[in-house]
């Protein structure tokens, strides 16, 4: 890989949650993009696939699990992007069967989040 893709997309409708997540990610050297609903996230990812998508399950218009399935079934994005599903629900099984690389139950904590993101990327051979 010539140039390391260090873009992480946050798909979450809560502006304050997005802000805080982006600050955690920026601290770790990532470039962050946002999507306030599932279709915006899908379109943006198809246009410029990010290294990873952190998506909330309860996303407007297209939920996070459906977004995950579409990203993983699309050849343009499936090999490039890790998808990490976030939720207050204990939805790990559904997230993994939707093709997610990892699942993280809310509430979140910075170090745990970065660890899971790194592990998901490492599994896919992506280096942060």
């Amino acid at each position: 890989m010539d140039k390391v893709n260090k873009v992480v997309m946050i798909a979450d409708s809560d502006q304050h949650v997005c802000n805080l997540l982006s600050r955690f990610l920026a601290d770790a050297g990532y470039t962050v993009t946002y999507a306030a609903d599932g279709y915006i996230a899908l379109d943006s990812a198809r246009l410029a696939p990010p290294m990873a998508i952190l998506t909330e399950v309860l996303l407007p218009r297209l939920d996070g699990l459906a977004l995950c399935r579409l990203i993983k079934s699309d050849a343009a994005t499936s090999d490039i992007t890790s998808v990490i599903v976030l939720s207050v629900l204990a939805a790990e099984e559904r997230a993994l069967s939707s093709g997610a690389d990892a699942f993280m139950q809310k509430p979140l904590e910075k170090h745990r989040l970065l660890k899971i993101l790194n592990e998901a990327n490492s599994k896919r051979g992506l280096k942060a």
Binding site: D14, H16, L20, K106
Partner: protein
Amino acid sequence: MKHSDYKCISTGNPQMDEILNGGFPSNSINIIMGQPGTGKTIFAEQMVFHHARDNDKDERPILYVTTLSEPAAKVLMYLQRFSFFDESKVGSVVHYQEIGTQLTKNGIGAMVPFIEDAIHSLSPKIIVIDSFKALHDLAESTQQMRRMLYELTGLLTAFETTVFLLGEYTDEHAQTLPEFAIADGILQFLRSSLSTRDERFLRVLKLRGSSYLEGLHGCKITSAGLDIFPRLVTPSVAESYYAEIERVSSGVAGFDEVVGGGFLRGSTTVVAGPAGAGKTTFGLQFALAGSRQNERSLYVNFQENPSQLARLIKFLGADLDKIKLEGFELLYASPVELQIDSIIVKLFGLIQEKNIKRVVIDSISDFSRASSDADRLHDYLYSLLQHLSLKGVTTLLTYETVGTMLDDGKDAATISRFSNMSDNIVLLGLGHEPEYERDIRCIKARATKHDRKAHRFEITDKGICVY
């Protein structure tokens, strides 16, 4: 959520954790409410420093945010008087931050960015906001307050931290203000005036995802922080039963025959009579008889101080120092400072710890006077006596009547109330002119063939002798 997933955060106070069935839920939003001076800040600080004490270097810190009720410096100044306070933790583990200026300048909209900043820079495991209620004074509208609360809740739900919102909230606020709807736990502190002293209580109003000990629990503020006394609840009724037939001597010469050979083990007896009738002597004889038979006795007294009691015990032919070594326990509390909750918790703890088999409470009249709530006292005593009965502890309660007989309304009503929870009732009389002959009568003895006649008695240097 699976039950096994439920995690608690300890309050740092074992009694409070017992009330909360382990503590507050982790990563929850909780309200600590109460009028000024009820103890909510002390409770929160005690919890904060408990967690600070056990904090390893790598652990996440604690954030204490003051709003507009009291500057952090003032909170800290008074906090230093408590033994739980540890100056070395301030700034290293416990971070005090003021948001008053931002709130005054930018309104309540400053709160969410402030907390966002704090989570980003500190990643605190606990956040205390004191006072959260003060934000209502700055809100331009209810709508603005609701909006801020919605955003704050979203943020706090998404990130790992346990939050405590402190405030001078009233019962009415708890019904109407929006933060009470989003709270996972609500703890209320109360204070009520009783004669020359105050009684403090706390109660849990809400605790999502867990059972808790309902009702009012007594508490008091000491130099070590809050001392909490969980309400004693009636033990669950055993499915099997065992009818106790063993007799326990009263220790009063000539009286055992009146009640069929002594009191039944595990029973409760009320000894009632006017001042000077011999109730304390009767109670002491009962307790001392236990010591003589290698049964540990506990004498709870609110009238005679330890020196007066030692003289009385000596009069009855025993040596207090000697019998203490043999397992005789004395618990004295001044009737002026008597708080039922603390006494009963102490008493119950002693009974369990020392394997006490005989208990004398002298007197329940003092309990009644010390209690602001007669129903609560009755429930408390009932629970205590049920516990004691199940443990095979034989109990004697003294009660001071106003007149010489029980025919006046007040005494009769009270005795009737205690009668429900007692197995035996014994009346002591001072007698009438010209002889003033003392008399004793057993007017009730459950499951026992007893002698209801009045018997003459005297108080000799061996104590009460019944004829």
